[in-house]
């Protein structure tokens, strides 16, 4: 896992990209790959790379080229099937200098051109520079596990794993993008290509973008999640499909355990997904196995019992950390610095602390269960949508909505007012059951209501340039899919790509130089899951039904059968206690709010006072409503973002770094012996 960055000059009048600037750019994200640094420069291009060495520790330095030195790559990620692809390429006559997956990409592109991307099973963001044609090729993996941002202006193209690398060029203006904010306060994240910064685009997951020498670009999706058409018969009975899923998951986990020249550990949340992944990881490789868990001071979020049960079953070397509200508030600025976007939940903060623990124990890569809930319908949102669908056929029925009590048994015991209000919430938009977005309507409208805190300027700007609507760019067959498939698609393109595997995934892991590996996001596993009939995934209201069949017998029954507990952390309550750090009060002051200009300062001040008052007597986080939590965390993180990136631009990494690989085609001498051989 690594960090990449670069500059391409499409205007001949520019001097070659400056080594000094490239140095700054990669320095800004050095934590993504602290093991080695490399640089390539010619008259028009500069590529830089920070390496976290996991595969081919000695030979995998970057930037790397093809045999004749016409094609150069900087690559962040892993191509897990690189050995199979390398064999295929060898049989086509390609010769390899290293044992790395990086070199496979270069040759695959030479051999198969634009068809190569679909052949990769992995998690990647890379830039290929065709020095002869002066063409830049940018690509990301199917789901967007690895990040990639780009900016084009004044005859230049900047790209990088993280925006802060692009911002380390003082020439690049920095401001918050209102469309990105608009999307964040709807979908919980900006949706690529929109980013939360003006002039910065996020490369779409599953896409390729090619810039020609004149700076014009074209791009296309080589993959997107597509779901089963319920009218087409499915061949496999569920028992057989369970076996296929087991084999595919096992294979995906093996690839992620064995395709590494360093030990791979596993996260263990106490839930079904990570337990199964850890168990499969344990089977894949002999020897010691390290597992890592998050525990909470607040009992309502804690899952210690299940973690310890699973760890003892695995006989792993188990590590855990206990996270408090105070820890969350303390590290939150660092979390936003790494996430580089506003977040509406504090859930990334504990994961930031957990990756630190992983790194301290000497582990560089971990498996996680991320993706199972999206691929196999684990979330309550899918179950709620199914009941709402059923209810919509008879909206006056008093009996149909009682199914919600199956989902949330506490409702059956609740006073009328709780139940009545909850039902009123789910009844929203029930008349639109046949329209795209039905499943996500309640979430999006609740979140959108927070926009009342935006400043008049931001609201005007959004009114003048509304953000693209996810529902306006759906795949053409969307309407033919089962309602569950439609809901899964929306969940994948909004929350999974934009938040879970980025703000809560890659960014929190890489902050401490740890690579996440996600068996449920294996391309083969995803294709198989997406093709399954809806009722294999969500049977009546039983979520991840087929996965429980896979897990039965190998994972303790208590874990397979337990009610799903969504991963949450203390939100608003972390920021309003009497020992809350000073930065919170400062950033939420009228003065700071006026300076950023993003929010209505009077409205936020009143709201913050209300939260502080509530916080005085708060014992559990239930004191704060869902809206309060999202509003406080969302506003505070946006203020932090503005402060860290727009006002301060804290990008300098301090220490000098030295480049192990230094290809200098500007002064016409290559300094790196191994690279000279390949030229």
């Amino acid at each position: 896992m690594c960090g990449i960055a670069g500059i391409i000059h499409t205007d001949d009048r520019h001097a070659p990209p400056s080594a000094e600037l490239l140095h700054e750019m990669i320095g800004a994200i050095r934590y993504r790959g602290p093991d080695e640094f490399g640089i390539y420069r010619d008259q028009h291009a500069g590529l830089v790379h920070a390496r976290l060495s996991i595969i081919d520790l000695l030979g995998g330095q970057q930037p790397m080229s093809n045999e004749d030195g016409s094609l150069w790559i900087v690559f962040n990620g892993e191509i897990f099937n690189y050995i199979e692809l390398r064999n295929e390429l060898r049989s086509l006559g390609h010769r390899f200098q290293t044992q790395s997956d990086t070199e496979v990409i270069v040759h695959a592109y030479e051999a198969w051109g634009n068809e190569c991307f679909l052949k990769f099973n992995g998690q990647w963001a890379f830039a290929l520079w065709d020095a002869q044609k002066r063409k830049l090729i940018l690509s990301r993996d199917r789901i967007g596990v690895r990040p990639l941002f780009v900016r084009q202006a004044q005859g230049k193209i900047w790209f990088a794993s993280e925006v802060k690398a692009i911002f380390s060029d003082p020439e690049v203006p920095r401001s918050i993008n209102s469309q990105g904010l608009d999307q964040t306060f709807t979908y919980w994240a900006s949706i690529a290509p929109v980013s939360v910064f003006d002039g910065i685009e996020e490369i779409l997951p599953g896409s390729v973008r090619i810039y020609d020498s004149d700076g014009a670009h074209r791009e296309w999706l080589y993959w997107q999640p597509l779901y089963a058409d319920p009218r087409e018969p499915y061949q496999l009975p569920i028992a057989d499909a369970t076996e296929v899923l087991r084999e595919k998951l096992m294979r995906a986990t093996e690839l992620r355990m064995l395709r590494a020249d360093v030990p791979v550990g596993s996260y263990l949340s106490g839930g079904l997904d990570s337990s199964l992944v850890a168990w499969m990881g344990r089977q894949a490789k002999e020897g010691s196995f390290q597992t890592f868990s998050l525990r909470f001071d607040d009992a309502e979020f804690d899952e210690t019992v299940f973690q310890q049960l699973m760890a003892s079953q695995l006989d792993s070397t188990h590590h855990d950390i206990v996270v408090s509200r105070h820890d969350i508030a303390r590290v939150f600025p660092e979390v936003v610095w790494h996430a580089e976007r506003p977040i509406l939940r504090t859930a990334p903060a504990p994961l930031y602390l957990l990756s630190q623990r992983v790194r301290q124990s000497g582990i560089k890569a971990v498996l996680t269960g991320e993706g199972a809930d999206e691929m196999l319908a684990g979330y309550d949102l899918f179950r709620e949508a199914k009941i709402r669908q059923f209810w919509s056929r008879q909206p006056e029925s008093k009996i149909r909505p009682r199914l919600f009590e199956r989902l949330y048994p506490y409702l059956g015991r609740s006073p009328n007012q709780t139940k009545g209000m909850a039902l009123q919430f789910w009844k929203q938009g029930i008349e639109k059951a046949n329209l795209p977005g039905f499943s996500h309507g309640p979430r999006w409208s609740t979140t959108s209501a927070l926009k009342r805190f935006f400043s008049a300027d931001i609201r005007q700007s959004i009114a003048a340039h509304p953000a693209p609507d996810v529902l306006s760019s759906l795949p053409k067959d969307f309407g033919r899919w089962d309602p569950l498939g439609q809901a899964q698609y929306l969940e994948v393109v909004t929350l999974l790509s934009g938040y879970l595997i980025s703000s809560q995934g890659d960014r929190m892991l890489m902050a401490h130089s740890v690579e996440g590996r996600f068996p449920f996001l294996d391309s083969d596993v995803m294709e198989f899951c997406n093709g399954l009939p809806a009722d294999y995934k969500l049977r009546i209201l039983d979520e991840k039904h087929i996965l429980k069949r896979v897990a039965r017998g190998v994972i303790p029954d208590q874990i397979v059968r337990r009610q799903k507990q969504p991963y949450r952390a203390p939100d608003a309550i972390s920021f309003v206690g009497k020992d809350a750090p000073d930065y919170i009060r400062e950033l939420l002051s009228e003065k700071a709010l006026k300076e950023s200009g993003l929010f209505d300062s009077a409205a936020v001040s009143k709201f913050y006072q209300k939260c502080l008052a509530k916080g005085k007597n708060a014992i559990t986080s239930a004191t704060f409503s869902n809206s309060d939590n999202m509003a406080l965390v969302g506003i505070l993180s946006t203020q932090l973002l503005d402060n860290l990136f727009v006002r301060e631009n804290r990008h300098s990494s301090g220490d000098r770094i030295s480049f192990v690989t230094d290809i200098d085609r500007v002064s016409n001498h290559a300094q790196h012996a191994t690279q000279e051989n390949s030229l």
Partner: protein, 88 residues
């Protein structure tokens, strides 16, 4: 002196503006408070507690249904009748 429907409506509206809307924007009395995201299901409890304290009433469990509380107009009319009943 008996409080009028309009006075109830104004008190409720200003409470909701101060405690949920915050930005001084007017809220349509007919709009669904839950449906528009102005208040979520936990927030409604704050409204109910405000009504009990301000008007010195207690609500029966069976009165606490969305039909009575989901807009300012609904609260206004429900409270007016409740206070009327209590007074008579």
């Amino acid at each position: 002196m008996k409080i009028t429907q309009e006075e109830i409506g104004l008190k409720v509206k200003s409470f909701i503006q101060d405690n949920f809307v915050f930005n001084g924007q007017d809220i349509d009395s007919e709009v669904s408070l839950l449906g528009s995201g102005t208040i979520d299901s936990t927030g409604i409890l704050e409204v109910i507690s405000f009504l009990e304290e301000t008007f010195g009433v207690r609500f029966d469990d069976k009165e606490l249904i969305a039909e009575n509380f989901d807009s300012i107009a609904k609260i206004q009319s429900f409270m007016f009748h409740k206070l009327g009943d209590a007074g008579s």
